[in-house]
């Protein structure tokens, strides 16, 4: 599968001249495949925004290389095929439609394509009514939508979004989620950094969890959510008291209990030996939040070197 965004053993350090060097990313490798929605997670100061800024060419890697759409990071013409939304949207204070035309034109778009794209994206993000209003008078949610609009106006192949729904109300979030799913359906690749784990869980094909500058876990969302260590056994025709770990006994006589994978076979044979019947055995589903907390609450080797909060406080771009 081809990668549209690839980090290859990238290390990024800040400071170093008259200031102690702070490592934001260390030996960071990641590949985002074409046509997928990749969820990029991590606690504050993990290095997510640094990773995004490296891809966009805003900062330069201390070591290692990376490619975006088959070109090295920082290749200006390639950015015409990319849509980027920064965390805490900051745009020039101009009327919304003119602002979109400005950013579209910077990406080489010209009329009538630009006029059509501007009109369409304003309509999609329900901003048509405020197209002539200066964005300086916009609410935070509206600003976030205009930020998304400027990222989408050039119909990009790759979307890099840093917290795209953080300021939106639930309806706005649903609308953006649908927009992203439609974009994926149209063959776009989306690299999505967010703290909203439920959102990530709902739409991302794969997830990477960054912790203290290192990739702590990566995989398909469905695989990550499926525990490999525990499974739920549902049986019939056995007394619940025979299984101390049983969580409940339903009205139809079903007994449910969770067992370790290693003990699964023994427990099933015990059900049979008691004259019971196995109804189903399923892997236990975990939430992304569980995994996130589990991974990020354990300090990594790098983290211990960085002396925790002090390192985070000094890191200039880790605003994720």
């Amino acid at each position: 599968m081809s990668s549209v965004l690839q980090y290859d053993q990238i290390t990024k350090q800040y400071g170093g001249f008259m200031r102690p060097a702070v490592t934001a990313l260390e030996d960071f490798s990641l590949a985002v495949h074409r046509g997928e929605i990749f969820g990029f997670l991590g606690p504050n100061g993990a290095g997510k925004t640094t990773a995004i800024h490296l891809a966009m060419g805003f900062v330069r890697a201390t070591r290692g290389t990376g490619n975006m759409l088959d070109r090295p990071f920082g290749h200006a013409p390639t950015r015409r095929r990319v849509g980027f939304l920064a965390e805490n949207v900051a745009l020039y204070h101009r009327p919304a439609a003119r602002l979109l035309r400005f950013y579209g034109a910077l990406n080489g778009m010209r009329d009538p394509q630009l006029a059509r794209a501007t009109r369409d994206i304003l309509e999609t993000l329900e901003l048509t009514d405020v197209a002539d209003r200066n964005i300086g008078k916009f609410s935070r949610g509206m600003l976030q939508r205009i930020g998304l609009a400027q990222a989408l106006v050039n119909d990009p192949e790759l979307l890099i979004l840093d917290e795209p729904t953080s300021a939106l109300d639930p309806l706005g979030r649903v609308a953006v989620r649908e927009l992203l799913l439609r974009a994926r359906h149209a063959g776009k690749t989306i690299f999505l950094s967010s703290h909203l784990l439920s959102e990530i869980e709902l739409i991302c094909d794969r997830v990477g969890i960054l912790h203290r500058g290192r990739l702590a876990r990566m995989g398909r969302t469905s695989d990550l959510l499926e525990s490999s260590e525990q499974c739920e056994v549902v049986a019939r025709g056995v007394p619940a008291s025979s299984f101390p770990q049983a969580s409940s006994m339903t009205e139809d006589g079903l007994v449910r209990f969770t067992v370790a994978r290693s003990a699964q076979r023994a427990e099933i044979e015990r059900v049979w030996s008691l004259g019971g019947e196995i109804v189903r055995v399923n892997p236990v589903k975990r939430s992304l939040e569980d995994i996130f907390v589990e991974l990020t609450s354990v300090p990594s080797a790098l983290g211990s070197r960085l002396s925790g909060k002090a390192a985070n406080d000094q890191r200039p771009t880790t605003n994720d």
Binding site: R60, R81, A90
Partner: protein, 234 residues
């Protein structure tokens, strides 16, 4: 070229209030003195010299603040996330500064021409002075922009003033062709000694000023292309 024009236009728009204030000062104060008062020709030439110095200070501050403002407000990210080179962004800022400077020069020229018309004097020398001012503005803006890629705007302005001052000193001390090669002394002298009689614009020095602006522009691009531009959320 279009991205440069877009960034330049946007830069002028973002800085329209200081620019309008300065233009209003020249138009209202200069025009008012010329038409309502009864200034002598010496007073008029003194006013023209002083607005030249204001223009230099304005250009230096405007050019030095461009990068810092965009960086501090994080607006730079959305611009440099588009398919443009950092050199194009800098060229846009410089062009925007020079657009402001040209507008300022035109207003100075127009107000001065109208004033001189009262004395039935030809404004030819005045427009030559405007040309010299624009060359000076260009060099000042480029040097300020260069220092602003790695210094705070106020420090960058001071560093630009020191650099231009050192060039002036060098030109003065070395003399001969160096007066033009290090053109700031020749330009400053032309500004300070401006008069309607026996004054000649130092065009050779203006040419060298443009050459040095190109060199500083190149250096600015090289330095800025290697800088990390992201900043923490306020």
């Amino acid at each position: 070229m279009i991205p440069i024009l877009l960034i330049a236009g946007n830069f002028v728009r973002e800085n329209r209030w200081p620019l309008i204030t300065l233009l209003a000062y020249v138009a209202v104060f200069g025009g008012g003195v010329a038409f309502l008062g009864n200034p002598s020709l010496e007073d008029t030439t003194f006013l023209l010299r002083s607005v030249g110095v204001y223009g230099l200070a304005f250009t230096a501050l405007l050019a030095a603040s461009g990068i810092n403002n965009d960086r501090r407000t994080r607006r730079m990210l959305a611009v440099l996330a588009k398919g443009i080179h950092r050199g194009q962004y800098l060229a846009g800022l410089l062009l925007g500064t020079m657009l402001g400077a040209v507008i300022y020069g035109l207003v100075v020229g127009l107000v001065g021409s109208l004033t001189l018309a009262r004395y039935s004097r030809s404004p030819g020398k005045l427009w030559e002075l405007v040309g010299v001012l624009l060359a000076s503005f260009l060099l000042t803006a480029t040097v300020s922009l260069f220092f602003s890629t790695f210094l705070h705007p106020l420090i960058a302005t001071a560093a630009a003033a020191l650099t231009l001052g050192a060039m002036a000193l060098g030109g003065r001390l070395l003399g001969g062709p160096w007066t033009n090669i290090l053109p700031t002394y020749a330009l400053a002298d032309a500004m300070v000694s401006f008069s309607l009689h026996g004054w000649h614009a130092p065009w050779t020095a203006c040419g060298w000023a443009i050459v040095q602006a190109v060199v500083f522009g190149g250096l600015t691009t090289v330095v800025f292309s290697r800088r990390d531009i992201a900043v923490a959320v306020e």
